[in-house]
Subunit: 282 residues, 2 copies
């Protein structure tokens, strides 16, 4: 399918992306671009990339450039890559926020060679060693502003994500960021805050070590996520995240008030309402 692609960033997302494309034989050569030589060494060793080059040279050789780095760095790097590409090359990003990026690239002369995507898959781990070859499958990939990208570019990108087993959907950047705040960003904040709650209050760490079971692990595992990735997401999606966070605190205060007032009828109702999440996650 491709002779050569470049991945910018050699972490969880781009690493998994590359591993699968190579494994399936959809790409002959993957060039890696990263600021950290340590990550490059790991990515080479893990077979994620075939060689490492400076961005400019890498782009020159590549049919597709896949950018998966923290969302604050994404904007300047996407612009820089768009300055370098011709009308046959395709630029794709995989960031968790879309509005600021889409605004930043809106007037670029090569806007039509860029496809803004968010493959909604991830784990709490980061770096090349976190990359896995069973990533993406069964999840949704959002493509924003499809109409601003050339049809051939969109078609190629859609085809790749579908071949990765993803369901592709379309959204405007603002709608994406609002929904992402609900189904992803707030989960990370609650998890970070829950970890801090336990670390703050639970002095007898040995007891947590021993007792922490499946329920605790699943609600708190996102607290292991990389702050360098999440800080820029929270910054860029600040307003929507704040909106959801305010609502979440309001909901928690309802539980608190029920317990304080021993209003168990309402507490029961709150839990029964929460059970409706059954309709959404099976």
């Amino acid at each position: 399918m491709f002779n050569t692609i470049t991945i910018v960033g050699v972490g969880l997302i781009s690493g998994s992306f590359s591993l699968i494309l190579k494994e399936k034989g959809w790409v002959k050569k993957v060039i890696g671009v990263s600021r950290t030589s340590q990550s490059i060494d790991k990515a080479l060793k893990l077979g994620i990339i075939d060689e490492s080059l400076p961005l400019e040279e890498a782009v020159k050789q590549s049919e597709l450039i896949y950018i998966a780095i923290p969302v604050d760095a994404t904007i300047p790097v996407v612009l820089q890559v768009m300055d370098l590409v011709n009308e046959k090359q395709i630029v794709v990003d995989a960031g968790s926020t879309k509005q600021a990026l889409c605004e930043a690239v809106a007037n670029h002369p090569m806007r039509s060679r860029f496809v803004a995507t968010h493959p909604m898959w991830g784990t709490e781990y980061s770096g090349p060693e976190a990359a896995v070859s069973d990533a993406f499958a069964g999840r949704t990939c959002v493509i924003c502003e499809k109409e601003k990208s050339d049809a051939d570019a969109v078609h190629t990108v859609e085809t790749i994500y579908k071949m990765l087993g993803m369901h592709v959907t379309y959204m405007n950047p603002e709608a994406h960021d609002i929904h992402a705040a609900y189904v992803s960003h707030i989960s990370h904040i609650t998890s970070f805050a829950l970890a801090n709650t336990v670390l703050e209050k639970e002095k007898e760490e040995n007891a947590i070590f021993e007792l922490a079971g499946g329920g605790f692990e699943s609600t708190v595992r996102l607290a292991k996520s990389n702050p360098s990735m999440w800080l820029p997401i929270f910054k860029q999606n600040r307003e929507h995240v704040l909106d959801v966070l305010n609502e979440h605190i309001t909901q928690l205060r309802k539980f608190k008030s029920c317990l304080e007032k021993e209003n168990y009828t309402y507490l029961q109702e709150l839990m029964e309402n929460a059970n409706k999440i059954n309709r959404i996650i099976k």
Copy 2:
């Protein structure tokens, strides 16, 4: 190991308990006691129990009586069973709170035949059909007030849990309830509240359906838990749960304040601190 045991309640915990004991050949006959004939029918069909009897008759035939029902019902049922047993029989409960129960049984003449336990394993599902034969393994079981139970009873109960693959630890009932508030009960409240947040604010349900990924699922899955089980737990452990919930709201407000004030240095610190949970869950 046993000829006959009784399980009171035929749900997730007692059902899994019975399935494993039967599968391993550690018990010849399991009698089920339940208020709901529908659950009995299911438990019989699933091979969880061999027959169903009224409590009194069931206890008469059993070497061990395993009680795993909502914690408010546990107290009267444990007392009732203790009224029926002789000095060779063993009574065990599997409830998620321990202080109220241990106080209630403290002066019973057969206190020494009772062992207060909390096998810290569970899923968000309930009922006999939720029972699985790979339950318990790798998790911790807390035994409270070991010194108030006869040595032979404790030894038998410990042996069973260890054979189930559990790590057995000892705690006084209050310490148990405090730790349980941190490592289990608060996770359920945050999950219930997160489900309500999303259900309240996210009107376009189709978007959640499509986008909800692994992170969301893992933080919200406990919201599917059965309110009939959790309401009594929150009631009995009200003070400790309130204490942890207050701290959790405080922690969330720190994230909120950072976003409002755009204090990203402190936001980064909060996340870095949360990463320390790595030490506790691998």
